[in-house]
């Protein structure tokens, strides 16, 4: 490896849910039902980079973010953080590692405990990791981070319900940042917010990243947001990354038909009605029984017989640009 060893390296990560049967199920002879949320996902995130993770609901993007942090225990595969194997850490080591890897959640309401004051919520990491020598010091640190994310330090003793959605999201950001982490999973942090508030939070996240040298895994279903703030982007479909590469390349000349249809579906203020729409028919197949061959073939406008049986291998279609489609080389869109 060269000097630029990536901060995060994910190799063949698999997460299956369910599968474990209760005693009653076993007595009744019910088979185990498992949902394959992640099916061998591999990627890296370089230091200081933002990797955008995009996909529709149920594609496994939120699970991926959580599996990387071991909030959901991966079924198989490996995650390394700065060279250390996260998947092999003991509970005590994992707890220490949590200082460095944090998460910002989607729902500004559900992500803050309604019975705790802001000082308690934001100060929790200090307490858990003994990062403040005294209560005074903890309060000062909380006040400082509050001001940094654009909240008044005077509001330290308020409860979450006394803040608006955008302010609550800032509280969640302050909580994630107070232990000086290096890597943050942003799980749809602006999806629940109004347009004008969304822009405020995006601006804040970009500033913080630059100031603190953070690395982001930015999960979103919003292509405009991903396009605006990511360096590279990974497109997920049914638990797999179908296309990945530098954001300009993937969003301007997508090579996977799923990415193409996703992009063409987004209404655009700049050029309404100009794009040729790649129409997708039907809904996402059930992750309990994913289709054989290429998983996208049931909705793909270009599917041929081969797609129903052969799983496409990931191929390189350009500088750092990969796609998992039998026709990736030919699919150059105008």
């Amino acid at each position: 490896m060269t000097v630029s060893e990536p901060l995060i390296r994910v190799e063949s990560l698999v997460k299956h849910y369910g599968g474990r049967r209760s005693l009653m199920d076993r007595l009744a002879g019910r088979p185990a039902i498992s949902i394959r949320a992640l099916n061998g996902v591999s990627f890296t995130v370089a230091r200081g980079e933002t990797l955008g993770l995009i996909g529709e609901s149920g594609c496994g993007k939120s699970t991926l973010g959580r599996a990387v942090l071991r909030l959901h225990e991966p079924t198989a595969g490996r995650v390394t953080f700065d060279g250390a194997d996260v998947t092999a850490l003991s509970p005590a080591e994992l707890k220490a590692m949590r200082r460095d890897m944090q998460i910002i959640f989607q729902d500004p309401y559900a992500s803050l405990n309604p019975r705790r004051t802001v000082a308690e919520i934001v100060g929790l990491p200090l307490k858990l990791h003994n990062l403040a020598k005294s209560g005074r010091e903890a309060r000062d640190k909380v006040a400082a981070i509050m001001e940094r994310v654009g909240l008044k330090a005077a509001h330290l003793d308020r409860y979450p319900h006394q803040f608006s959605g955008g302010q609550r999201q800032r509280i969640g950001i302050a909580r994630a940042l107070i232990s000086n982490p290096r890597f943050i999973v942003c799980d749809e942090p602006v999806s629940a917010l109004d347009v004008s508030i969304q822009a405020q939070i995006i601006k804040l996240l970009i500033e913080l990243k630059r100031e603190l040298g953070l690395t982001y895994l930015f999960v979103s279903h919003d292509i405009s947001v991903i396009g605006y703030l990511s360096d590279r982007v990974a497109v997920m479909y049914l638990g797999e990354i179908v296309e990945m590469g530098p954001v300009e390349r993937v969003l301007q000349s997508p090579r996977h038909p799923y990415t193409q249809s996703l992009l063409s579906a987004v209404p655009d203020v700049d050029s309404p009605g100009l794009r040729k729409r790649v129409k997708l028919t039907g809904d996402l197949p059930s992750p309990q029984a994913p289709p054989p061959g290429c998983k996208f073939h049931t909705r793909c406008p270009l599917a041929v017989e081969r797609c129903r049986t052969d799983v496409p291998v990931v191929r390189t279609v350009g500088e750092g640009h990969t796609a998992a489609c039998h026709f990736a080389e030919e699919l150059v869109q105008g």
Partner: protein, 335 residues
């Protein structure tokens, strides 16, 4: 405001308030709006802008602690506020239909979708035979027709299914089918795609656009997404803190926004093409709608404000078809 002749829906001076413990919330404060036959009007606003309450008022669906304080709501020239609840119910469902953002809670989980469509048809469709087997047959046929129209495959079979047996996109389609069952003249779609994925969103919006042209009805699309508006709506109305702040043909408003709020909203949308450029959000947040001072509502967040904005601001005409609620319209204040 252009001539009042020929508007399908015409609302003037609508004021809807909610009485809360903390005081009177002016959720809708003096809204004027027109919907012309066959057009698609986009209504844009953030939480608390009053966009949903405005149309809940039109539909007569505002309940305590909310009440319509004043204003007229005319549909095909008839004042809806003067109608009896029974007459209003006849218009609602038969001539004006509304779909909700969350199809799962808007559909009755205990009834099959067939029962839910038939219920609407029996209640409102006067073209059905009056009694007997013929009536049932005709209604059933119509229900299948509507489900097919909204793109539900093997509709005949699906009539027996319950709402939870469908995906989110399918449920939104079913709700549209129910809304369209009696071929209304006006469809009010409240955030029809907010809960849906982009590919499904595109399908649903295309469907609404397609049915609009086929049935020649008018559509009001309530949304927070300016992209959706620019792609699907003829005209757009921007609401802020209970008031209309800008209104006009979509292309004109989006291409050349005149109210500072509309400008800010457009600047707030992140785009691939803006990579590397700093995003310029509207700072601050929507004001508390209780006890608002009689001044421009956007004053506290506006980057073009002057002292003269500290008075009530009326809508001003910009040419024939556009209006905006800003005192500095005449000046060329483009940043």
């Amino acid at each position: 405001m252009s001539g009042t002749m020929g508007n399908l829906l015409e609302v003037r001076g609508l004021r809807t308030v909610f009485d809360t413990r903390a005081g009177e919330v002016r959720a809708v404060d003096g809204v004027d709006l027109d919907v012309r036959p066959g057009e698609c009007l986009g209504v844009v606003g953030e939480s608390g802008s009053g966009k949903s309450v405005t149309f809940a008022s039109v539909m007569g669906l505002v309940r305590s602690p909310g009440r319509i304080e004043e204003g007229t709501i005319r549909f095909e020239g008839r004042d809806l506020r003067a109608l009896s609840p029974k007459e209003l119910r006849r218009i609602r469902g038969r001539h004006i239909a509304m779909t909700m953002q969350d199809a799962l809670t808007a559909l009755n989980p205990a009834l099959t979708i067939g029962e839910q469509i038939l219920e609407v048809l029996y209640a409102h469709d006067e073209t059905l035979p009056s009694v007997g087997r013929a009536r049932t047959e005709a209604a059933r046929k119509k229900a299948v027709e509507m489900l097919t129209l909204v793109g539900i495959p093997s509709a005949d079979d699906r009539l027996r299914y319950y709402p939870h047996e469908f995906s989110g996109g399918m449920r939104q389609r079913i709700m549209i089918a129910i809304a369209l069952a009696c071929r209304p003249k006006l469809l009010i779609a409240d955030e029809p795609t907010t809960a849906l994925d982009v590919t499904i969103q595109a399908q649903v919006l295309e469907l609404i656009a397609d049915i609009r042209t086929r049935l020649g009805m008018s559509v009001v699309l309530i949304t927070h997404d300016l992209g959706v508006v620019s792609e699907y709506c003829d005209r757009v109305m921007v609401l802020y803190a209970g008031q209309v702040v800008e209104e006009g043909p979509t292309a004109a408003v989006i291409g050349d926004p005149r109210h500072p709020y509309t400008k800010g909203l457009l600047r707030s949308i992140p785009r691939l093409s803006l990579r590397g450029q700093p995003i310029e959000p509207i700072e601050g947040q929507v004001p508390d709608l209780i006890g608002l001072p009689p001044q421009c509502r956007f004053y506290s967040r506006c980057n073009e404000r002057i002292d003269a904005c500290l008075q009530p601001i009326a809508m001003r005409e910009i040419g024939a078809a556009r209006r905006a609620r800003c005192i500095r319209l005449e000046e060329e204040t483009r940043p």
